[in-house]
């Protein structure tokens, strides 16, 4: 897919395969264990649920500006991109191979509600295996960059995987959290979190909030080309995985809680960050938002 299509294609609307095809250099993507091999979930039939030939994740290799990338893209439209046994194992296999092959980077196109409940134990364990493998790849000098802007967001264990990456790019639609809005509401009541209040969801978990507080390292317009540019920039600027980085992250997160722990709403945090008009943030276009980010010193760091 050539440049103009990449510029037009909405990351949010695109499928996992469309994202990969447009993100990577044209024609460079090679899938492994693709749908033709029919490696489907052995468990979903027990629940009378339909299966996908790829179990909702596309993995393989390709190139970005000529450099070899390993890539995994979750399909948020199949069971919310959730981690089942096969789905998780495909990601884990890719990450383990990265340790030996040492591609220029691993790109994780996360689009997930978290663990697939019908295969909960397998999904949960696969997430733990993936995090161990990400750390091993990073420690070997392979940057692992997360790209988040899909329909399913990045919830549950997906949020922990995101927090394990070297760098994260996020768009407005890319919500990142552990407990999703419905989970909080179900367990703690609508007074704690009204999941129907979409503006509250975006403010609390959305891409702009994550970018402003340093929970993500780049904010993208909702196009594949914006994510491509961000990925190239972030790969070149990935922090090492070592004691210095984690010591810095400890201090960064501690300072965040000390400074913003009393804030009730994201707008209170944005005001403390020095954003002139916090109420205007949700409606800002990418250019205006970038200028706002430049005022927030928390947004730029190597502490991840």
């Amino acid at each position: 897919m050539a440049g103009p299509d990449r510029d037009r294609l909405s990351w949010y609307e695109a499928s996992a395969r469309q994202r990969l095809d447009a993100l990577l250099d044209p024609g460079s993507f090679t899938e492994v264990l693709g749908p033709a091999e029919r490696r489907m979930s052995p468990h979903l039939p027990l629940f009378d649920l339909p299966r996908a030939f790829d179990d909702g994740i596309v993995v393989g290799s390709g190139s970005l500006d000529g450099k070899t990338m390993f890539v995994a893209a979750q399909e948020g439209r199949f069971m919310g991109g959730a981690f089942g046994e096969v789905h998780g194992a495909k990601l884990v296999g890719l990450l383990r191979a990265a340790l030996d092959v040492k591609p220029a980077a691993v790109l994780l196109l996360l689009d997930t509600g978290g663990v697939r409940l019908q295969e909960a134990n397998a999904g949960e364990t696969a997430i733990a295996e993936a995090m161990r493998a990400i750390v091993a790849a990073r420690a070997a000098g392979v940057p692992v960059v997360g790209l988040i802007g899909g329909r399913a967001g990045c919830f549950g264990g997906g949020g922990l995987i995101a927090g394990t990456c070297s760098r994260l790019a996020v768009s407005e639609g890319g919500r990142i959290s552990v407990s999703g809005p419905e989970v909080i509401e179900t367990n703690k009541g609508a007074e704690e979190f009204d999941s129907k209040d979409r503006a509250l969801v975006w403010r609390t978990m959305g891409g702009k909030h994550r970018r402003l507080i340093g929970g993500a390292d780049a904010f993208c317009a909702d196009t594949v080309s914006a994510f491509r540019e961000a990925a190239l920039r972030l790969i070149a600027d990935a922090p090492a995985f070592d004691l210095d980085t984690l010591t810095a992250e400890q201090a960064r997160l501690r300072a965040r809680i000390d400074r913003f722990g009393q804030c009730r709403d994201a707008t209170d945090i944005w005001a403390k960050l020095g954003v002139n008009d916090p109420d205007a943030v949700p409606a800002m276009d990418t250019g205006a938002f970038d200028e706002t980010v430049a005022q927030a010193r928390e947004a730029v760091h190597d502490a991840r």
């Binding site: 492994v32 264990l33 052995p42 468990h43 027990l46 629940f47 993995v59 290799s61 046994e85 998780g88 194992a89 495909k90 884990v92 296999g93 890719l94 191979a97 030996d100 092959v101 409940l117 295969e119 909960a120 134990n121 397998a122 949960e124 364990t125 696969a126 733990a128 995090m131 161990r132 493998a133 750390v135 264990g157 949020g159 922990l160 995987i161 995101a162 927090g163 394990t164 959290s177 552990v178 407990s179 909080i184 367990n187 703690k188 704690e192 979190f193 609390t204 929970g215 995985f241 004691l243 984690l246 992250e249 400890q250 997160l253 501690r254 965040r256 809680i257 709403d265 994201a266 945090i269």
Partner: protein, 238 residues
């Protein structure tokens, strides 16, 4: 076993492990050196502060440079479910704790999880599941989600799920199922002193992440190992 009983069994000569706000931290003499202990007690939920406190202890241990083993004792709730925790970036804090444990492991600290009560979801991933080897005591009750909640989400009758759970370890809560999945390596004997049992686990720490192999052997994750290997082999072959 309670945490007090576990600590008494681990450290017959006494110890300096304390619990505050459900967070466990300290150390005791072990095998001629020391065993550091962190953890969550009393079914407490793990929020942003707790995750950072525990991660701070782990990073202190790494800085000490003695490569002492770290025991992660867990009887927790899930992650703390709140608007405030998510606003402050709970995903980063829990991932940070897991990364601290994985770093300690890489720097030569044997990391051993000990599940003696409940644990679930994000709290489980950030603590027990981030260790090199995870042991459990009988009565431990890990879960991703309880069956009534699974019934709500999957819209299947609870009775049917309870029946399915008997033959399908992949989705049902409980220690036996996490053992079958390979997430839990071994179950310890509470009638015998725990110190030697932990020592023996450390003596044979797996070199690679073998949870998918265990899951295949035990039948709880029949295909994960083969799938991961197929992907890795094919992509290595270019």
């Amino acid at each position: 076993m309670t945490l007090a009983e576990i600590l008494a069994s681990l450290f017959p000569e006494g110890h300096a492990v304390t619990v505050a706000d459900g967070l466990v931290a300290g150390e005791g003499p072990f095998e001629g050196g020391r065993l550091r202990v962190i953890g969550v007690d009393g079914d407490a939920p793990l929020g942003v502060e707790g995750a950072l406190t525990l991660a701070g202890h782990v990073l202190d241990a790494v800085r000490a440079g003695d490569k002492a083993p770290i025991l992660v004792a867990v009887d927790s709730d899930s992650q703390r479910m709140s608007r405030r925790d998510e606003l402050l970036g709970l995903n980063e804090c829990l991932a940070h704790l897991a990364k601290a444990l994985l770093l300690a492991d890489r720097r030569g600290h044997p990391t051993v999880g000990l599940l003696y009560g409940h644990s679930a979801a994000g709290a489980f991933i950030a603590t027990a599941l981030a260790t090199r080897v995870l042991a459990a005591l009988p009565g431990a009750n890990p879960s991703v989600m309880d069956l009534p909640s699974v019934a709500r989400v999957t819209k299947l009758p609870l009775e049917k799920l309870q029946e399915m759970a008997k033959s399908t370890p992949v989705f049902a809560p409980g220690l036996d199922n996490m053992l079958a999945t390979g997430a839990v390596h071994a179950v310890l004997d509470p009638e015998k002193p725990l110190g030697p049992q932990i020592r023996d686990l450390i003596a044979v720490l797996p070199e690679r992440d073998e949870r998918d192999r265990l899951g295949q052997e035990r039948g709880g994750r029949p295909v994960a190992e083969a799938i991961a290997k197929a992907v890795a082999d094919q992509i290595r072959a270019g």
